[in-house]
């Protein structure tokens, strides 16, 4: 993605925080977030204008998405509010099949005239491109859903919470970090509400209200005399929840190894900021790692990103087939490996499920952006690759006739395509805690939180950092480490998976701004797991002198 596709919102930690321009819309007043938007009956009438126009022009299929996308972002640093942004984006996207070819057009003029014009444009594009079309589109069948609706099950709508309360929370977190000796704190709250209406010529009229939230910060400690600095990022996860995620419930707190404070479905931002300051200072003098082979104990808020990159992306069918070859790349998880029914992606205990229904997850919706009811399905079972992630125009290529329901567009303005559902590692079946896991490790490193990540275009070779690292010697944590990154090959890594903690340790990691496609679109996705051990992984030392 190019830098000019982003808007600089603030500086978070050491690097500038850039938001995709697509996340912006028209700036509105806070009260306007609460305005009801277009009535559902009017949306149905408007969607029918698109569907009827498309059919009358010879389209064999059409769908219309009327979307109202509301975002609120709050940015602070130390004791200052840097920015409060409310945005709204409203319009309609129309997708058609004509001459066996897709066409798409969109407009912010949600009127009969505007919709007719956009639909005509979509059909004209489909017909023009059909000249170079070599693979006519074939859609897997989906039953018309009739008039249905779905809502993220939230307890507190962020739009009902005053901005002052949000600002107070961030400034309290900043103050807690400064009090514990941090030099700088940048904190932010991202809140998203997608109000989207989908209609198709299959007879579906689907109204959905989707919520997501992400509180985050970077706490920096500086040793001016030594010319050194370290930043500790938040241990929060972006979630498919309402503002109740910020309640900081004691019942949702967990203790990790090394006394780490970790969070499940409720986040205590002030507490985490105070701990972050102490850890950032500790990082300034922590021991630099000796490179070599270690058994890695990976905490869910770290492992989620490894799952995302090494299992999530390579099992996207459009990548496997070559549709993303020019940008994100292709995949090592080729069709022949899946067809063999014995491709060992991981060890026997590795079970990976795809899912669009898990409560609290970023991927959960009732129906995807082409009207398919959402579900859960296996990607890896007992270590063997058993399926991919595919949508209506793809499943025939893997001899299936039911879409997996993972089609998504970032807004009404963009065409929908295959996006990653939640991809999660099932918890271990037998009771096994994090403290037992640490006891069983002779020479290892415990890694918590997300860090630097990089993987090749076919998803073989990867390198990951983390937020905090602790050395394990003979079953005990002996101290903090610096300069840690691990390098491995996806198949070798997952086959080195030796032990998984039970479900009491299971939590979600999230990616709020996952990019894919040209022009690039973002989506949000969760990855659940319990703390997991991988044996004999290559660790490098990333310390340098310049």
């Amino acid at each position: 993605m190019k830098r000019r596709d982003f808007v600089q919102m603030s500086s978070l930690g050491a690097g500038a925080l850039l938001l995709p321009t697509a996340m912006m819309g028209n700036t509105i007043a806070t009260e306007a977030l609460l305005a009801p938007g277009m009535d559902v009956m009017v949306k149905k009438r408007m969607a029918d204008v698109a569907l009827n126009t498309a059919k009358s022009m010879g389209a064999t299929y059409a769908d219309a998405r009327i979307g109202r996308y509301l975002n609120q972002y709050v940015f602070t640093r130390e004791d200052k509010v840097q920015n409060v942004v409310n945005t709204e984006s409203f319009g309609i996207g129309i997708r058609v099949i004509a001459n066996g070819t897709w066409g798409f057009a969109s407009t912010n003029s949600v009127t009969e005239d505007g919709i007719k014009k956009a639909t005509q444009q979509a059909v004209a594009i489909a017909k023009a491109n059909s000249k170079f079309q070599k693979e006519p589109v074939v859609l897997a069948p989906v039953a018309g859903q009739g008039e249905v609706s779905w809502k993220t099950p939230i307890k507190k709508d962020f739009k009902d919470v005053p901005v002052s309360e949000k600002v107070d929370l961030l400034l309290s977190a900043n103050a807690a970090a400064l009090e514990k000796g941090a030099n700088f704190v940048n904190s932010a709250l991202f809140m998203v509400n997608e109000q989207k209406y989908f209609a198709s010529t299959d007879g579906s009229y689907i109204d959905q209200d989707v919520h997501r939230i992400w509180p985050t910060f970077g706490v920096t400690a500086v040793d001016q005399a030594a010319g050194k600095f370290k930043t500790r990022q938040a241990m929060s996860a972006p979630m498919g929840m309402g503002y109740e995620y910020l309640d900081g419930l004691a019942s949702e707190k967990l203790e990790g190894a090394a006394g780490l404070k970790l969070y499940r479905n409720s986040y205590d931002m002030v507490e985490d900021a105070a701990v972050a300051a102490q850890q950032a200072k500790e990082m300034l003098t922590a021991k630099s790692v000796d490179p070599g082979k270690y058994d890695l104990v990976l905490e869910p808020n770290h492992l989620g990103l490894t799952i995302h990159e090494s299992v999530g992306h390579p099992t996207e069918l459009d990548r496997v087939l070559g549709y993303e070859a020019n940008y994100a790349g292709t995949s090592f998880a080729t069709i022949d490996k899946w067809q063999s029914k014995n491709f060992k992606y991981g060890s026997d205990i590795v079970n990976i499920v795809a899912d669009k229904t898990q409560v609290g997850s970023l991927g959960a919706v009732g129906y995807d952006d082409e009207g398919v009811p959402c579900k859960q399905w296996d990607i890896i079972r007992n270590g063997v690759l058993v399926n991919y992630q595919a949508i209506r125009d793809q499943v025939k290529m893997i001899d299936q006739n039911e879409s997996h329901g993972c089609c998504y567009a970032q807004s009404w303005n963009d065409v929908q395509f295959q996006r990653m559902p939640n991809i999660s590692l099932e918890a271990g079946k037998d009771p096994y805690s994090i403290s037992q896991m640490i006891k069983d490790v002779e020479k290892g490193i415990y890694i918590a939180g997300r860090g630097s990540y990089s993987i090749d275009q076919q998803r073989y070779n990867f390198q990951f950092g983390g937020t905090v690292f602790y050395e394990i010697k003979n079953g005990e944590i002996v101290g903090m480490l610096n300069d840690v990154a691990y390098q491995s090959n996806t198949q070798e890594f997952w086959n080195a998976c030796a032990k998984i903690c039970d479900k009491s340790d299971y939590r979600l990691f999230g990616s709020f701004f996952d990019g894919k496609g040209q022009p690039s679109q973002i989506s949000a996705v969760s990855h659940g797991s319990s703390t997991t051990r991988f044996n004999g992984i290559n660790v490098i030392n990333t310390g340098r002198t310049v």
């Binding site: 690097g15 700036t27 007043a29 057009a105 070599k134 940008y327 275009q457 073989y460 040209q518 340098r544």
Partner: protein, 437 residues
Amino acid sequence: MAIYTEEQARKIMEKALSFSKADACEINLNGSESGNIRYARNSVSTSGYRSNQTLVVQSNFGKRVGTATCDEFDDASLERVVARAEELAQLSPENPEFMAPLGPQEYDKSITFVQATADITPEYRAEVANASIQPAIENDVTAAGFLNDSAGFSAMLNSNGLFAYNKSTGVDFTVTMRTNDGTGSGWVTRDYNDITKFDAAAASKTAIEKSVLSREAKAIEPGKYTVILEPSAALGLLNGLGYDIDARQADEGRSFMSKEGGTKLGDKIVDERVNIWSDPLHPEVPTATWNGAGQPLKKTSWLENGVVKNLAYSRYWAEKKGVDPVPYPSNFIMTGGDASLDDLIKSTKKGILVTRLWYIRSVDPQTLLYTGLTRDGTFYIENGAIKYPVKNFRFNESPVIMLNNLETLGQQVRVDGNLIPYMKVRDFTFTSLSDAV
């Protein structure tokens, strides 16, 4: 019509400004029209067209600031958007870092707009796709590519008398060619303000040649190698240095540009042959001559003979530090040499030619250490000639170390709006092998 003339833009903004009751008001008006085509598996997959226009109003009462936007420009909409910005300003907490809008400025005339680019049609885009797909089929390879073109304008007016206007065009093209046996991959990138400089067939031919040449790569041991970096590979790492020139971050002690008790401004940090500057009027990589805050953009030196010449100062930080503001650059130009790629290969006893670096991520902001991988054409050089393709490597390297290990600078090429030379660098650190093609 999303592209307004200078007079049309001024009229709309003057109307909006006439509704302002705030201490100061600043208006930005932007519009663009863009089209794209995407292809994969030797077939067109999607194409699109987009037209956007936005007016942004920033109003302030003292240090209370509010911003509002709209995309309709009739009198009633303009009055509403100004009123909304003022309401938001009244409700906002004071921003101690707010800077009042600038007064009138002198700007150079930009050279960013080319009518031929603005005139691109859907048929032209389809022809570009075909210029990749047909030769791909003939050469037993598969093309996947993307072309995006745009034309647009930006304008600005404020209550202190500042007015600015600019029109620009741009086109970006990338194509990946993969051999049908799955063992070779080649890639090119091209970008221009002027579409008449673009030759889709020639670019596609280069990518096809690379894909065929890179088939059945051999594995060689990772380690430290002399590398010849093509300009897009070099830019991947140079960007890391470019993102780190903020004076405030450096002063606060949390940047590569920080050092014990101060910053590296004035220090020699890389080889003395390294000169990097920005220039909005460079004919190969022109940009607007003003930024979104209304500051004039001028030719600015960042690294001169290896010495840090400037850091970027926001207006707020400059005032606090008692220095002149230094706007962020809109492009980077790095001095090159006369050597062609062939010359660089001929003068290399043992080394690696790198087409492209991919998935580049920061590992340590303190040292600017980055990791990533080679992609789409990596070749082993021995005794002045390419011997064979090699498997891709993961690297862990800092642009600062890279520019200290400089051997030779070659000819410059435009990449992503910047002008970057081919460069030969010794002891480039590859840490592992990748099986990816």
